[in-house]
Symmetry: C2
Subunit: 242 residues, 2 copies
């Protein structure tokens, strides 16, 4: 039998936290190249008081993981993305003075997402130029960026950063921001048109340049991995059973 | 102040467990189609005594997540895969009577992996024909299978189930087992040869059929996502700094 207070957990207790990485795009001025940015929250207490950290907090014992991610995100930044995807569980022994396993979620927000006007201690940061963050949060952001770059090659995840209608130049700029490198416009157009994931519309964007056709993405395709979806064609086991 | 015993955690405590899904291939007889199989462990205590479950156990507060996965796997099945990859954190409120967040790892083992001869309460099961498992483990296996099927399309993960040298028919059989459907041999050969991920050797497998060339996979390519790897070409930020 041991005697302890609720606020002083025993040394063999493992605590579970949730954090969220939200990527969006920002440009310094209209027409400038877009950069990948994310919101960070300044810590107002120790450990790491004064350092910036990912939005997050403790998991409540009666709360679903994703609910906890949405709740702590809303409490700290006022942001409410339309969906959150689980990224990874970070649980290294030395990442905090207590033993904390952080279940990290991530989301994409379209360019121009705003923080609430009265938001304190929260700001957007360029993902490629972060200051030293609290805990292992630099490492977590690096991992999230790696996943984003990796995923942009085989999924339609870039569309999560775009409005409903966009030009091929808009789409290329998203790829360039994510991959942090310039892409050849003609090659890019050819690859995207061959992929069959975009639907051309009859609308054009006009302005100082020649009119550019607006596209939308095919709503039938997955935006990102969201769960165990099935291929609709029958499996060998299903065929054998029928 | 509350008084409690160490074996009776308070209601607001969240416990952290690790489990591992290990996929391998089996055939009922030589030459028969291969099936995806995984090892399960029969529970010898409540809850769910007598039901089969994924190998796993509690995370120790001083133990890394992956170390805990390897340790509990070795303790329950005697298996030691060359690498484990984190799959997902399952933490639904109702998945156990206590609140348990399970960090699930997965691994692939080549066809023919053996359980120790003295292994008790552990056996291989066909992933497509599982009995009702303990907790939410059917759901976890479904998710792992979905990830495997999804990933086989854009990574070289199938090679984790193959020996060093293999024929194109061997590789196709792995794809057929994972995708649970028959593939056209000529189409498959063309796609694989165009992918550039295989290196033909000068060796052939001979036997009752005409000799079949043996291939090995390109060791320079990633077997699976194993961490934040960088594209070796310079980024725009690196270019601007140089």
């Amino acid at each position: 039998m041991v005697i302890m207070t609720r606020t002083d957990p025993p040394r063999d207790v493992i605590r579970v936290a949730v954090s969220t990485v939200i990527f969006s795009l920002r440009r310094d001025r209209p027409g400038a190249p877009a950069s990948v940015v994310l919101p960070l929250v300044r810590r107002t207490r120790n450990p790491h008081e004064g350092l910036w950290a990912l939005p997050g907090g403790w998991l409540d014992a009666t709360e679903q993981l994703e609910t906890a991610a949405s709740r702590t995100l809303a409490e700290t930044t006022g942001l409410a993305p339309s969906y959150l995807e689980q990224l990874y569980a970070f649980g290294d022994v030395g990442r905090s003075s207590d033993r904390v396993v952080s279940i990290v979620y991530w989301a994409l927000l379209r360019e121009g997402a705003q923080l609430p006007e009265d938001a304190e201690n929260v700001a957007w940061f360029d993902a490629a130029h972060l200051p030293p963050l609290a805990f292992d949060h630099n490492h977590i952001v690096e991992y999230a960026l790696w996943r984003l770059r990796n995923k942009v090659g085989y999924s339609r995840i870039a569309h999560g950063l775009l409005p409903d209608l966009f030009t091929l130049a808009d789409l290329r700029e998203v790829y360039e921001a994510i991959l942090d490198r310039d892409l050849d416009p003609a090659n890019f157009r050819r690859q995207v048109e061959n992929s069959g994931t975009l639907i051309p519309t009859d609308r054009f964007r006009t302005g100082s340049h020649r009119p550019a056709r607006l596209y939308r993405y095919n709503q039938d395709v997955e935006l990102a991995e969201r769960g165990p979806l099935r291929d609709p064609s029958p499996t060998r086991h299903q065929k054998a059973a029928s």
